[in-house]
């Protein structure tokens, strides 16, 4: 009985913190329409800043609190509103989502940069030296009492703000129609700012209150938010009272699980994963209103030509061959990731690019693929590779079932929860038996991974594995191009653009979604298996949620609808980041923040970098002499390097220079030619007068008119 009370009080005080954080989340979502994935990360930053001020620099607690809550948090909220969110106000839900995911990833990376994660830090509880209060059979510490008092104060304060003040009314009104609010003389930007300031402050309060209970760790603190998400989902992202109720449910559940879950090897992870599990379930149980807003402008999905893709695939294999011949064994392991990351990133193209389903657990799917290959393919049996694909695909199909009910932010949340469940629980399990089947994943630590054996030929050195992975990336890119050009590709795009039209035409939403989730999880699983082979051994941490965010962000930056995205993301994450990191610790920190910064730049170019690069290189493709010269020069460099005349980095630098120079030369030549032929500047009304009428002109006009 006493235990029941004690755990109840612990639960209620955690619930109070979740309620504070969750209400901040609901406040910003209802006012600005942005679901802030980085909300917990903001609280995490506040906790670290508070630690720095009090423990690090020895400032008195009240002063530190004022500095963090009244100066730093509002400043941060304003900064985020101005620099990150205002530019994307006009973009669709997906872009806003990516922005806050980029912020989450960036803040974790920044915190690890500023505060060395290898150094243990802890915050003392408030009033630690004051005696606890006895109430009946249980005791309440002053810290616990304080959290509950703060939560109640927050609840009352928010109620007064929203229903008793003018700015509160404006904030509630801008939920419905911001343009209309502007017309009535209110200032929607101001209500946004107020919402961000308050939201960040609430996150900061929550972060500072919860930090003493856990160790000060950037990703752990940021992900504590999962529980606050659950609370917010109870409130359906709108109702503050229901959010508080949700917080109580989550807080008590966690506390009682700690108290009453039996002790064995399989269940400690379940306790850690419980909030995520609850989030997943609550997403499924509560009905969701269709989220506000559609993509403002549909951007056509490029349909790559088969010939072009074949050329591209050939280039990928060639690139792999050249790299494999140039790199030493150590570098082969480092840069071998290029192609396996590429395959994993490619899995986003059908799922997020075509079907518009944003999943944040693709790297977890890769983890499943890697684990299956590690065990089933321990002796390199080739059949284990399709098995890895199939099992990862099956896991993907499993997520698709709930995905039918979820879209946009809710789906991203659901997949986040799924990734966390795998991270904290499933991937940490020792091997177990289900229905007589012995299942082992990472065996609670590291598993060794063997290379494949191709009809008796064992691939086990780095260069062979690199070429093997390059071939798979080429094949996967080709497969995606074929898919895009075919029936299924069209259907996926149609499904995203209008579910109603797709269904009334006879399309089966469930089947299509399950198929695309399974397909992309299968591709990710293949990528994971290839990654494992290259790394020789893998651990569960390599496939965690936070590890997967940079890959997702770079893929978004590359452009989710481009088939070339696999190579782009692979080269960026698996190639260029290690190159930059080689320059020292500072540079390494830069690379961990880079994907987030790139993601934040999304507002400038929502189509992504790959289409831009491709159109930039089109003049080179048309200019046969320059292209030929480039190929000969690159081949020459390669031979020189193989003869040890040039060293690896010099070859790399020269090759890069040649490629850029050739592109610049071809573009300049084409522009010069265009300038010489006078007709480019003839205005449309003079076509056929100042220059001859061409056959394609009618088409151009028709399209221009149709385009309005």
């Amino acid at each position: 009985m006493e235990q029941l009370f004690t755990f109840g009080i612990v639960g209620l005080s955690t619930a109070a913190i979740y309620a504070i954080i969750g209400s901040g989340l609901v406040l910003t979502y209802t006012t600005t329409g942005v679901f802030n994935f980085a909300h917990g990360a903001a609280g995490m930053m506040a906790a670290f800043a508070y630690w720095q001020l009090t423990e690090g620099w020895g400032l008195p607690v009240p002063l530190a609190l004022i500095l963090v809550l009244v100066v730093l948090a509002p400043a941060f909220g304003l900064l985020v509103e101005r620099l990150v969110l205002r530019p994307i106000q006009g973009l669709g839900d997906a872009e806003r989502l990516v922005m806050t995911v980029a912020m989450l990833s960036g803040l974790i990376a920044a915190a690890r940069w500023i505060w060395d994660p290898n150094e243990a830090r802890s915050l003392p509880r408030f009033f630690e030296n004051t005696d606890a209060i006895d109430i009946g059979p249980a005791t309440v510490t002053w810290h616990q009492a304080l959290t509950m008092i703060v939560a109640v104060a927050v609840a009352i304060g928010l109620r007064i703000l929203l229903y008793g003040t003018r700015i509160g009314a404006e904030m509630r009104a801008s939920v419905d129609d911001r343009a209309l609010v502007g017309l009535t003389g209110a200032n929607p930007v101001r209500s946004n700012q107020v919402a961000w300031i308050l939201g960040t402050q609430l996150a900061a309060v929550g972060g500072i209150l919860i930090a003493p209970a856990v160790s000060l760790d950037a990703s752990q603190l940021s992900l504590l938010i999962v529980s606050a998400y659950t609370a917010a989902i109870f409130g359906r992202l709108r109702s503050l009272p229901l959010t508080f109720l949700g917080a109580v449910v989550v807080g008590c559940l966690e506390s009682y699980l700690t108290g009453y879950l039996p002790q064995n090897d399989y269940l400690p992870g379940l306790r850690l994963a419980a909030p995520a599990l609850l989030l997943f379930l609550s997403l499924l149980v509560f009905p969701h209103r269709r989220l506000r807003g559609r993509d403002t402008k549909a951007r056509p999905v490029p349909s790559p030509s088969l010939q072009g893709t074949l050329l591209f695939a050939g280039a990928v294999v060639l690139f792999g061959l050249v790299l494999a011949s140039l790199l030493g064994e150590g570098d082969l392991i480092t840069y071998g990731q290029i192609f396996s990351f590429g395959v994993i990133a490619l899995s986003y193209v059908p799922l997020a690019g075509y079907a518009g389903q944003i999943s944040l657990c693709q790297l977890s799917m890769a983890g499943i693929g890697a684990a299956v290959w590690a065990h089933a393919g321990a002796d390199g049996q080739l059949w284990a590779l399709p098995l890895a694909v199939v099992i990862a695909g099956a896991a993907g199909a499993l997520i698709a079932l709930p995905a039918l009910r979820l879209s946009g932010v809710y789906l991203a949340l659901g997949t986040t929860a799924f990734a966390v469940i795998l991270d904290r629980w499933i991937f940490t399990l020792p091997s177990f038996e289900v229905l007589g089947l012995n299942i082992s994943l990472f065996d609670g630590g590291t598993v060794d991974v063997a290379g494949p054996s191709l009809f008796g030929w064992r691939l086990d050195d780095g260069s062979e594995l690199m070429v093997f992975a390059a071939v798979w990336l080429a094949l996967a890119s080709l497969a995606i191009a074929v898919l895009r050009r075919g029936r299924f590709g069209r259907q996926l795009i149609a499904l995203r653009d209008s579910e109603a039209a797709y269904a009334t035409l006879g399309g089966n939403l469930l089947l299509s979604k399950v198929a695309v989730f399974a397909l992309s999880a299968g591709i990710a699983g293949l990528g994971g298996a290839l990654y494992g082979m290259q790394q020789r051994s893998v651990t569960a941490e390599q496939f965690g949620l936070v590890a997967g965010l940079p890959l997702f962000l770079v893929a978004v930056v590359g452009g989710l609808t481009a088939v070339g995205n696999g190579l782009f993301t692979g080269v960026a994450v698996g190639g260029s980041f290690p190159v930059i990191s080689a320059a020292g610790a500072f540079a390494q920190n830069i690379t961990s923040v880079l994907p987030a910064l790139a993601g934040l730049g999304l507002a400038r170019n929502p189509d992504g970098a790959v289409p831009e690069i491709r159109s930039g290189y089109e003049p080179l493709g048309r200019n046969k002499p320059v292209l030929g010269g480039l190929v000969v020069a690159l081949a020459g460099l390669w031979v020189l390097q193989l003869q040890d005349v040039l060293d690896g980095w010099l070859t790399f630098g020269l090759a890069l220079f040649l490629i850029v120079a050739a592109q610049a030369a071809a573009t300049a030549l084409e522009q010069a030619r265009a300038a010489r032929s006078t007709d480019t500047d003839v205005p449309v009304e003079w076509w056929g007068v100042r220059r001859e009428w061409r056959r394609e002109d009618e088409e151009v006009l028709a399209r221009g008119i149709a385009g309005g």
Partner: protein, 237 residues
């Protein structure tokens, strides 16, 4: 037997009845019009017929079989295809691909490409075939919606304000298209505000007002119906 029969359908949103005890039918190979002031419940009725919205009570029959409990996907196999008042084109696909999706989901998957070319030609859309459907003008987009519905080779074609945004000449051509479709045996149910078009092409009319059917019959009869005039022009008329 009527190809489509809607029996006593009621749709309630909370306390508001968007449709109450609506009964209409559409005969095989005829053009049936559904008219009424804005907010009368026409689009809601379309949603009920195509399975996007489940009625609170009532039944929907297609060729005598009850389909009330079927979702939109399974209902489409009974030969239904529709257009949307608020355009629902696949904006990231070209016009041709919009039609291809419909044709490939239909029964004649093998010859989808030829079918699509035929329909594009018939509706005069060939020159727009490779245009991104998001860049079309409203009038053209509505026509593409009709084309897409036709690519599903429906027995019953439901058109929700297809002629809005068309000029008189285009409307005339559209009327011809509807007549020829009906002559080929396609059943058409059309919601339209252009009364000239409705009166000239429709064989039967149903008039909805405030969620209730206030009149049903041939156009000449409806034109003289006092209740209809009152609904359209106000009680003073």
């Amino acid at each position: 037997m009527a190809l489509l029969e809607v029996r006593e359908v009621t749709v309630a949103f909370g306390g508001v009845r968007a449709l109450s005890d609506v009964a209409i039918s559409a005969e095989q190979g005829r053009i049936t019009g559904l008219i009424g002031p804005n907010g009368a419940g026409k689009s809601t009725l379309f949603d009920v017929i195509t399975g996007l919205r489940r009625p609170s009570s009532g039944q929907v029959f297609i060729e005598g079989r009850e389909v009330t409990r079927l979702g939109p996907t399974r209902r489409s196999r009974h030969g239904l295809a529709r257009t949307f008042q608020r355009l629902e084109l696949f904006g990231r696909l070209t016009v041709r691909d919009n039609l291809l999706v419909a044709a490939e989901l239909g029964s004649n998957r093998r010859h989808a490409a030829e079918l699509v070319d035929q329909i594009l030609d018939r509706l005069g859309l060939t020159r727009l075939a490779d245009t991104s459907s998001d860049t079309l003008s409203t009038g053209a987009a509505r026509l593409v919606e009709v084309a897409r519905a036709l690519a599903a080779q429906p027995k019953l074609l439901l058109l929700d304000e297809p002629a809005a945004g068309q000029d008189p000449e285009e409307t005339e051509r559209f009327a011809d298209l509807l007549r020829s479709l009906a002559a080929e045996g396609t059943t058409v149910l059309i919601v339209e505000h252009d009364m000239d078009l409705v009166m000239s092409v429709c064989d039967d009319l149903h008039v909805l007002d405030l969620g209730k059917v206030i009149a049903s019959g041939p156009p000449e009869e409806i034109r003289r119906n006092e209740q209809v005039l009152a609904a359209y022009l106000g009680d003073a008329a």
